[in-house]
Amino acid sequence: MSRFDYRSASLRLASVAIVLGGWEYAGRLPVSEAFPSLSATLAAAWEMVRNGSMIQAIGITIVPMIIGVTISALAGVLLGLATGLSRRVEWLGIPLFLVLQAAPLAALIPMLVLAYGVGLTTKVLVVCIMAIPVIVLNSYKAVRHTPASLLEMSHSFLGSRRQTIFKVILPAASPVIFAGLRLGTAAGFVGAILAELLISPTGIGDLITYHQSIAEYPEMYAAIVAVILLSALFLELLDRLEVTLFRPERRAV
C-alpha cells in the first residue's frame, strides 16, 4: 500500500514537472511575445507579492468568491436533496436546472449589471448562477442513486423516513454531492473572474486587464497562476472536509 502511494505521488510530481518544463521551454523559444517563460512569471509573481499588489488583489477577488460559493453550496445542496427526495419538487425544479446548466450563463451578465449595478451583489450573483445548477443536479442524482438494497435494508430494520435520509441516503450520496461541489466551486471561480473582467475591473481581474494593457505579460500570467492556485487550494480543502465529515473508511486506509 505505501509503495503504491509512493509511486502515485512520484507520478503526480512527474506530471507537474512535465507541464512546468514545457512552459519554461515554450517561453524561452519564445512561441509568442505575449507568452512569458515560467521563470519570468515566477519572478513577476514574487515581485507582486513583495509590493503587496497580489495579496491586495486576492483579498478583493476572494470576497464575492467565498460569499457566492457558500450561498451556492448551501442552496444548491438543499435544492438538490429536495428534488432527489420528493417527486413533486423534482418535477418543479429539475427542468429549470437542466436548462440553466445548458445555457451560456455568462450571457446573462449584462442583464444582471442592468438590474443590480456593478457592485458586489452582481458579482456574487454571477458566482451563484455559474455554481448552483451543477451542484443541484449532482446532489439530485446522488440521492436518486442510493443503492436500492440499502434502502430496503433500512426499511426492513424499521428505519423511519428521517433515519433513512440521515443515516443511509446522505452518507451514500456524499461522494457525488461533493463531486458536484467541486465542479460548482470551480464554475463559481470562473464566474468570479468573469465578473471582474466583464463588469468592473477589481482584484485579480483588474491585475490581468491592467498588465495586459501595458504589455507586462509576466505579471499578467502571474495573476492567472494565482487564480488557478487559489482554486486548487479551495478544492483540496473541500476534499479534506468531505473525508472528515462523511468518509471514515477513507481515513482508515
Binding site: M153, S156, F157, L158, A172, F246, E249
Partner: protein, 265 residues
C-alpha cells in the same frame, strides 16, 4: 392477535412461527410470480425455499419480510398479521447491504441504532454476535477491507443482533466462493442449534438445501406453487464430511434433482 392464534392449529405439531395463507403475486407485465402459496414454517427449524430461478422464492421471502405487498393472501408471524417489516423478523440480503462508510461494529449494531438503543448497549450486543459469527478482532474494519464471506457474516450478525425470532435469508451464500460457502454452512448449522430461532432460507443449490435444512419447500416455476415438502432428517451427530457422503443425503439430493430436471429445459 388472540383471534388469529386459533388459525395456526392447522399444522399437526407446534404452532407455526410463520404461516403463509393463499399468497399470490403478480408483477406488471403481467407475470404471475406466485399462486396460492400455503405453508406453515415450524419454529426453531431451518426451512429452505428451493426451486429453479424465476419460481418466486425471493419474492415469497420478501413478502414474509413485509418488503413486498402480495396481490392477495396473508402472512402471520407468531399469529400476528404482517403489514410491513417488524421487530420479530430480520433479513439477510443476497448482496449483503452493508453501509460502506460504517465499520463492522456499527453495521452489526445498525438495526439497534435505528431502534434508538444507546451506543454502549448496542455495541455490547453487536460484539457478542460478531464473536458468534467468528469475526472477533474485525470490529473496527470497514466492509471494503473484508472478503465476501466475511461481509455476509456481518450481514448475519446484524440480523441476529436485533434478536428477531425469525431470520429471513435471501440466497446469503450466492455471492460467496465455494470453499468459504462450505465453512459458512457449517457455522450456520452451529448457529441454528444454539440460537433456537426460526430460519427461512432461500437457495437455488440443491446440495445446500439438503445439507442445511430441517425441511425443504420445493417450488415449481411460473407461477410459483408449493410443489413438494421434503424433510432430509440427517443425523447432526455426524461430521460435515460424513453427512456429505451419507446415502440418505445423496438420495435426497438425487430425488430433488429428478423432480426439478424437467423444469430446467
Amino acid at each position: 392477535m388472540t383471534t388469529v392464534a386459533t388459525k395456526e392449529t392447522s399444522s399437526k405439531t407446534a404452532p407455526a412461527a410463520v404461516s403463509v395463507r393463499g399468497i399470490s403475486m403478480i408483477y406488471p407485465g403481467p407475470v404471475k410470480a406466485l399462486e396460492g402459496i400455503n405453508h406453515d414454517f415450524q419454529p426453531g427449524q431451518l426451512t429452505s425455499l428451493l426451486g429453479p430461478s424465476g419460481c418466486g422464492k425471493t419474492t415469497l421471502l420478501k413478502i414474509i419480510a413485509g418488503l413486498i405487498k402480495p396481490v392477495s393472501g396473508e402472512v402471520f408471524v407468531n399469529g400476528r398479521k404482517v403489514e410491513g417489516p417488524g421487530p420479530e423478523r430480520a433479513f439477510v440480503f443476497q448482496d449483503f447491504a452493508l453501509l460502506p462508510w460504517a465499520n463492522v461494529i456499527r453495521n452489526v449494531a445498525f438495526g439497534l441504532e435505528l431502534r434508538g438503543v444507546p451506543v454502549a448497549e448496542r455495541e455490547a450486543v453487536a460484539e457478542k454476535y460478531i464473536r458468534e459469527v467468528g469475526l472477533a478482532g474485525f470490529e473496527r474494519k470497514y466492509p471494503h477491507e473484508l472478503s465476501g464471506g466475511m461481509r455476509q457474516r456481518v450481514g448475519l450478525a446484524r440480523a441476529l443482533a436485533v434478536r428477531a425470532d425469525v431470520l429471513l435469508m435471501d440466497e446469503p451464500f450466492s455471492a460467496v466462493d465455494e470453499q468459504t460457502r462450505r465453512k459458512f454452512q457449517e457455522d450456520l448449522l452451529r448457529l441454528v442449534s444454539i440460537e433456537r430461532r426460526t430460519f427461512l432460507f432461500v437457495t437455488h443449490s440443491i446440495e445446500e438445501a439438503v445439507y442445511l435444512s430441517d425441511s425443504i419447500v420445493l417450488l415449481s416455476p411460473r407461477p410459483g406453487k408449493v410443489w413438494k415438502i421434503i424433510e432430509p432428517r440427517l443425523s447432526r451427530k455426524l461430521s460435515p464430511d460424513q453427512i456429505r457422503r451419507e446415502p440418505g443425503y445423496l438420495d435426497t439430493v438425487e430425488t430433488i434433482w429428478q423432480n426439478l430436471k424437467d423444469y430446467v429445459e
